[in-house]
């Protein structure tokens, strides 16, 4: 919830690194004040004390001082290094997603945000997350650059066409927070906004069971893999297959034609679907057709999720499963969060 003072000075602190960013902010304000006050006081003091008393006076010359120059070079340098180190620590934290986070896929599109949970729930311009759990967003875009920005969590990340970017957070306070697109994306950029709903785990479980869930990404990927796109005709496994075996490859090194080795991460899987001949696995022919233009970003996400699920040991991230699914199965809408605005209602 936004605070309701007349002139709001700070956004809510609603994630585990909100206080870190705020601490950095206050440190920098302190440094700024510590520099500004002496300089401004000196300027005013000198300006008054040494104001012109006689026209065209010739004050005594001064040539500068090596000692002073050294001091006022070293002090700012040392202080700027403390700022650098503080910033780097927080940054490392912000952009290193933990292994055990619950994963959500996000796709940006002119001009809306589409999110899909591991359990299949889809949302537009909204994202429901439980409080106190690490959430990792795997993001891409169907068109231009966007930026997923949540001021209350003090984090944001650009969303880049043709690749995955990641961000993570752990919400600390239930509530409803602004979601903005922070990278200019064309006509309705300022309408590409929404809400992040942070809920208690119990409410979140109810929301999960209450909202209509379609296929989970893994199910959807499997469907595409075996039926719609026919990947299975070459990649179903077995020794005589024309396509490389996909079981167990995720997060493992793959040897490529030409001798290079690459780690089979999400980017690699994605690239192998869209640009198959660019990284061919050793022992196979570059015969796979490209699927560029035939699959949407959401379908790609689903395929990647499915292929990851074929490597059960490597895929560490946990799905957003309800903590006690059975208990909540029959109470659909009872605890749904109140007053959920319609998608796009906020301009």
């Amino acid at each position: 919830m936004q605070n309701t003072t007349w002139v709001p000075l700070f956004p809510d602190q609603a994630s585990t690194f909100a206080w870190q960013v705020d601490a950095l902010y206050f440190y920098l304000i302190a440094v700024s004040v510590a520099f500004t006050i002496p300089i401004v006081v000196a300027i005013f003091f000198f300006a008054l004390k040494y104001r012109e008393t006689e026209k065209y006076a010739t004050p005594e010359e001064m040539h500068g001082s090596m000692l002073l120059e050294t001091v006022w070079s070293i002090i700012p340098f040392v202080i700027s290094m403390t700022i650098f180190i503080g910033g780097a620590l927080v940054y490392f934290n912000q952009y290193t997603p933990p292994e055990d986070a619950m994963e959500v896929y996000v796709v940006g599109k002119q001009w809306m945000w589409k999110a899909q949970h591991q359990t299949g729930q889809r949302e537009i311009n909204e994202l429901h997350v439980p409080v106190g759990r690490k959430v990792k967003l795997t993001m891409t875009t169907e068109d231009v650059l966007h930026d997923f920005s949540i001021p209350a969590f003090r984090t944001k990340a650009d969303v880049v066409p043709g690749r995955y970017t990641y961000m993570w957070f752990e919400a600390t306070k239930p509530g409803k927070y602004h979601l903005y697109c922070a990278e200019y994306c064309g006509l309705n950029h300022s309408g590409m906004v929404g809400w992040i709903y942070v809920m208690e785990q119990r409410d979140f479980d109810n929301w999960l069971s209450g909202s209509v869930s379609g296929q989970t990404p893994v199910e959807m990927g499997k469907d595409l893999f075996t039926n719609k796109l026919g990947c299975a005709s070459c990649h179903a496994g077995g020794p005589a297959q024309r396509g490389a075996k996909l079981e167990g490859i995720y997060n493992h090194d793959v040897k490529l034609v030409g001798g290079a080795t690459v780690k089979a991460d999400e980017q690699y899987i994605r690239n192998s679907i869209l640009n198959p001949s660019s990284q061919v696995v050793e022992g196979f022919q570059p015969i796979m057709p490209t699927f560029k233009g035939q699959v949407t970003e959401e379908q790609l996400n689903a395929l990647v999720a499915y292929i990851k699920s074929l490597s059960p040991n490597a895929a560490a991230s946990t799905a957003a499963m309800p903590a006690t699914p059975a208990a909540n199965a029959n109470t659909p809408a009872a605890n749904k969060p109140a007053a959920k605005p319609a998608a796009n209602a906020n301009k």
Partner: protein, 557 residues
């Protein structure tokens, strides 16, 4: 009256020719090789662009008075902020001080007859007109809505506006910068008067030397980038667009590799002006001359190594982010050195508060805030929250307007008597300087708070709880607007009604004050020989201080 004519040695009343009276036909202006006339033509053209950019700024602030997108359509708003940025950066901020004040003063300050390459100088003006004309043509045809940063793939694939035309305008205009930079470097190396050693040069000249280095080395990169953008848009060869095999982040690297150093093209000449003003109006040699001179060079060099700090959240590796953050912190040090030396220059000076000095003192305060908030944005963990918000908008306006524009205005006032031979109204000058200072702070300080609240840039509409601060900002903008319109009026008025300025109305020792106002076409009647150090205010540097006192006494009586 007798005393005065004696001092000015007849320059004021005998109709001796100066650069303004040397030919009055249009051709005598358009075909001139005189750096001073070229500077005046730049002054007029740059002012036109500044006014247009200002009108766009006014539209932005009026739109943001209310949370909804209601004054203009969102599509129009997107074009307005884009065109505000393009006109202000490429056609006002970059050429303003170098092409006007630098052009006019650099040869005068080092005792040269003209720039080393006068025809090239005129060519750079024509190129500026051509680039500017093309850009204006594109704006009138329908404008461009990509943001001044032209980020791909929006600018190559998705925007239906006149990206190619504007790109071509900026591409052409870049050559104007390159030629000006080249001309300055050659001039400083080869055209210094006898006795004008490197360490006797005014710091304004040092700052322009550093700026010229950046212009020559950086501008070709933006030309290449714009060219690649055009190739991709026209032929669909994949360079930046991922759907045809390009990389959108590559564009950002190339764009900022120029556009970050371009920030220093904008601010370094401003710092040069401030060094002149602080020293001259304290009548005291600038403190730590060598440190100020070399810090300009250091800024120019390190400025090339920090472009990645515009891309902390763009998906570059976190280690790249840390390297760029480190280098960004390093580049803050030379700016801090300048700040301290300027402050120390005031110590035991003889400080007068004429309009240019008011601007200089205002610059110190505003640039201090602009520089310190740069540290906020260099601290990577913090900038993840702040980037792409109004905090960034406030920061770069503090540096660009609070720094560069204030320095430009201070410089224009200071050298106005030299350029025109007339004094401006000191009363209105002071009023306007104060209005600019107050209006500027009221406009942009609230934007720091809006930014920390998370208000994103380039939004036509914003949440209602942010309206109060936006009202402050718009109110401040109207004060700032009045403060900026006033000089246009009283300076123009002074051309005809202004008091005649003597050759050296401030009694300052720079070479530009040792010729008549306005100077003759060949700058000096006799080639000056420099026997004094920079910023020597005593009579030993040849200043007739007693004479000036007599002149003043006669003027009062």
């Amino acid at each position: 009256m007798n005393a005065q004519t004696a001092i000015t040695e007849g320059h004021a009343d005998t109709p001796k020719g100066n650069y303004l009276t040397n030919g009055s036909t249009l051709a005598s202006w358009l075909l001139t090789k005189d750096h001073k006339r070229i500077a005046i033509m730049y002054l007029i053209s740059v002012s036109v662009f500044f006014m247009m950019g200002g009108l766009y700024a006014a539209t932005i602030r009026l739109e943001l008075l209310t949370p909804a997108s209601d004054l203009v359509e969102t599509a129009t708003y997107n074009k307005v902020f884009t065109q505000h940025g393009i006109l202000m950066i490429f056609f006002f901020l970059i050429p303003s001080i170098p092409a006007i004040l630098g052009n006019f003063l650099l040869p005068l300050m080092i005792g040269a007859k003209d720039l080393a390459l006068p025809r090239i100088n005129l060519l750079s003006l024509y190129i500026y007109w051509l680039g500017g004309g093309l850009t204006l043509f594109a704006l009138m045809q329908g404008g461009v809505d990509t943001g001044w940063t032209f980020y791909t793939p929006y600018s190559t694939t998705f925007s239906n506006s006149f990206v190619m035309f504007v790109g071509l305008g900026i591409f052409i205009n870049g050559f104007s910068s390159i030629l000006t930079g080249l001309n300055f470097i050659v001039t400083i190396h080869t055209m210094r008067a006898p006795g004008m050693t490197w360490f006797r040069m005014p710091l304004f000249v040092w700052a322009h030397y550093a700026t010229s280095l950046v212009m020559i080395l950086g501008t070709p990169v933006v030309a290449i980038t714009v060219l690649l953008l055009a190739i991709e848009r026209a032929t669909h060869v994949g360079i930046f667009d991922p759907s045809i095999g390009g990389d959108p982040i590559l564009f950002q690297h190339m764009f900022w590799f120029y556009s970050h150093p371009a920030v220093y093209i904008m601010i370094l000449p401003g710092m040069g002006v401030i060094s002149e003003l602080i020293s001259n109006f304290s009548r005291k040699k600038v403190f730590g001359y060598e440190f100020i001179a070399f810090s300009s060079i250091a800024i120019a060099v390190f400025g090339f190594l920090v472009w990645g700090h515009h891309m902390f959240v763009s998906g570059q590796s976190i280690y790249a982010g840390m390297v760029f953050s480190f280098l960004t912190m390093v580049v803050a040090v030379p700016s801090a050195i300048k700040m301290f030396n300027w402050t120390a220059t005031l110590y035991k000076g003889s400080i007068s508060f004429d309009t240019p000095m008011l601007y200089a003192i205002g610059f110190m305060g505003l640039f201090l805030i602009g520089g310190l908030t740069g540290l906020f944005l260099g601290a990577i963990g913090l900038t993840v929250h702040l980037t792409d918000t109004y905090f960034v908008v406030a920061h770069f306006h503090y540096v660009m307007v609070g720094g560069q524009v204030i320095a430009y205005l201070g410089g224009i006032h200071y050298w106005w008597p030299k350029m025109t031979g007339r004094m401006y109204s000191e009363f209105w000058g002071k009023i306007s300087a104060m209005l600019v200072f107050v209006g500027f702070n009221l406009t942009f300080f609230p934007q720091f708070i809006l930014g920390y609240q998370g208000m994103p840039r380039r939004y036509a509409a914003y949440p209602e709880e942010l309206q109060v601060l936006n009202i402050f900002s718009t109110a401040g903008a109207s004060v700032l607007g009045i403060g900026l319109i006033m000089p246009a009026i009283y300076l123009t008025h002074s051309l005809i009604f202004g008091k005649k300025a003597g050759d050296n109305p401030w009694m300052h020792p720079g070479l530009e004050w040792r010729t008549s106002s306005p100077p003759p076409t060949e700058n000096f009647d006799v080639m000056p020989v420099v026997t004094w150090e920079a910023y020597e205010f005593g009579e030993e540097s040849g200043l007739d201080l007693e004479g000036a006192k007599r002149r003043d006494a006669a003027g009062v009586a």
